[in-house]
């Protein structure tokens, strides 16, 4: 059965999406027809080291009001024009998730409008599809916390491959810190590696760990850091070898999933999707299989509120909302446990 597409004229209203799974606090406003009116973000930057969940949560609480008000201002709408509130219900860091959830519950309850709990991974896939027009892709979702190859089969996004240990973004972040490099404010650590790697040319062999469609990055990280400490190979060449190895692994598992599922499209989404070398590898691979390649636009690659709003709208259309008293955050909410009833309708 194929329903007619729902566009703005059919249903009037707006959804506010609140994202707070990790270091970003974001608020996005999207019309029910899918037009993004605002997408505001504020990132917690630790003094040193990685994300401290409680400190990140404190940051989120501090900026929540400002970010949400700014998103409404940019969307040029008032609170009374919101028809639903969506929030990232998981997976993510507990204290951070709870901060966003608290704001979302308060607004939904005050405005007496439905609350929608969104799976963060589903949101990354949906915004990628929405922004690129991809219909039924094999998706590589890569970020600081996730590395997942998935594709839609029978009601859910099935996970075909994932990391067995750390996420690729995490691997890049830790490498950058261990190398004593510091990313400027607002710049992703992966970007730093990308820039150095572009100047490297001599390849040194590093652990390449692909197990079926799963991956492991911890051995690669350890070896790359030791290689750097030995100081026999220059930083540029280490970055080059590190990046080539990590991204070749990612492309290989995506290729395997593509061959296995026999789909015709490849979608790259998540924070690490902004890396040009990774984009180039996947594009080449997709071409060789006659598949269409798309990458999420930059403004939606990192965590953001608009993607939560959009996934919230899709859920809400299918009547999937969550009563406030049941809106607990789910720290370990797996992608492949979420029913996505809207996908079938959009495929045809």
């Amino acid at each position: 059965m194929c329903l007619p597409p729902l566009v703005g004229s059919v249903q009037k209203g707006h959804c506010l999406g609140i994202e707070s799974t990790a270091d970003d606090f974001g608020a996005g406003v999207v019309t029910l027809g899918g037009e993004v009116l605002a997408n505001v973000n504020d990132t917690y930057v630790p003094e040193k080291g990685g994300i401290h969940p409680r400190e990140a949560a404190r940051h989120h609480a501090d900026v929540a009001e400002k970010v949400i008000l700014e998103s409404l201002k940019r969307a040029k709408i008032g609170f009374n024009e919101l028809t639903a509130i969506a929030f990232s219900q998981g997976p993510g860091l507990g204290p951070c998730l709870r901060t966003g959830a608290t704001a979302a519950r308060a607004l939904a309850s005050y405005l007496s409008i439905p609350l929608v709990g969104v799976n963060h991974c589903v949101a990354h896939i949906e915004i990628g599809k929405h922004a690129t027009g991809a219909r039924d892709p094999v998706t590589l979702y890569v970020s600081g916390g996730n590395t997942i190859v998935s594709a839609y089969e029978a009601g859910r996004y099935r996970v075909f491959g994932e990391t067995l240990d750390i996420a690729v973004g995490n691997c890049l972040d830790v490498f950058v810190r261990e190398a004593g490099l510091k990313a400027e404010r607002g710049k992703a650590p992966g970007k730093v590696v990308e820039e150095f790697a572009a100047k490297g040319e001599r390849f040194t062999s590093l652990p390449y760990t692909v197990k079926g469609m799963d991956l492991s990055f911890s051995g690669l990280l350890t070896a790359a850091v030791s290689l750097l400490r030995e100081k026999k190979v220059g930083l540029e060449d280490v970055c080059f070898s590190f990046q080539e190895t990590a991204f070749s692994m990612l492309t290989e598992v995506t290729e395997r999933a593509l061959a296995h599922t026999e789909k015709g499209e490849v979608l790259l989404t998540g924070g690490v999707a902004a890396n040009r070398r990774l984009q180039a590898m996947l594009r080449t691979m997709a071409e060789d299989h006659g598949a269409q390649f798309s990458v999420v636009p930059r403004e939606y690659s990192a965590d953001n509120g608009a993607m939560i709003a959009w996934a919230g709208i899709l859920s809400h259309r299918h009547g999937v909302t969550v009563p406030i008293e049941k809106s607990f955050v789910k720290l370990k909410w797996r992608l492949d446990t979420v029913e996505v009833p809207w996908v079938e309708e959009r495929k045809c």
């Binding site: 916390g145 240990d165 079926g212 080539e244 290729e255 080449t284 060789d288 370990k332």
Partner: protein, 210 residues
């Protein structure tokens, strides 16, 4: 004649001195830099026939290797008549499906008991012959190891492959696989590997039962 263009390699149907054979050619991957690509291709081409031979010694049906050319990343193997288990499994009646899975599990148990980890235990890599034998193919990602961790990952991958491709019967199929595993590898080995599988699952990101 090209019979399958897989992710890793292309398979061609060839006449090998009067015998029906499959030529497996690992095509260079344009997305990888040549240094890395050559390293991976030759490592896998050398390794695969060695493990196939070991699997045969362990009593697990595999195609017979006829010829290897590392430089060209090519392996010529016996052609196995039959269908991929992936294609037939969902359509089988329950008892037959269970029997097939048990049979597969027995072979996986034999591999593991001989220090072989397949590395890509999906149902596309198992061929069901018209005589009802299951032939294991594609040892390209296999390892020879006695580490319990590797055996755990092997079965974890299989469990997940079943869950994504045969989701209607996933639990039933995996239970049957493990029953077969127990038959050939013994209860101790089965308990150990299942312990590892759940350890790996818990280690994974975002697992509810921790």
């Amino acid at each position: 004649m090209l019979i399958k263009k897989g992710a890793e390699a292309s398979l061609y149907l060839e006449d090998w001195y009067g015998r029906k054979a499959v030529l497996k050619k690992r095509a260079p991957k344009r997305y990888r830099i040549p240094e890395l690509d050559r390293e991976i291709q030759s490592r896998r081409t050398k390794h695969e026939p060695q493990v196939i031979h070991r699997a045969q010694e362990a009593g697990v049906p595999t195609p017979i290797v006829l010829f290897v050319d590392v430089k060209e990343a090519t392996i010529v193997m016996e052609y196995v008549e039959g269908e991929q288990v992936k294609q037939v499994l969902n359509g089988l009646p329950q008892d037959e499906r269970r029997r097939l899975c048990t049979h597969i599990g027995e072979h996986v148990g034999k591999l593991h008991s001989s220090g072989i980890v397949h590395g890509d235990l999906t149902t596309s890599n198992m061929i069901l012959t018209p005589m009802g034998r299951v032939v294991f193919v594609d040892f390209g990602l296999s390892e020879q190891t006695w580490e319990a961790e590797a055996r755990g990952v092997d079965l974890h991958l299989m469990k997940r492959a079943i869950a994504s491709t045969h989701f209607m019967h996933a639990d039933e199929c995996f239970d049957a696989v493990m029953a077969g595993y127990r038959k050939s590898a013994g209860k101790k080995a089965m308990d150990e590997v299942l312990g590892k599988v759940s350890e790996i699952e818990r280690r994974g990101r975002y697992i509810s039962e921790r």
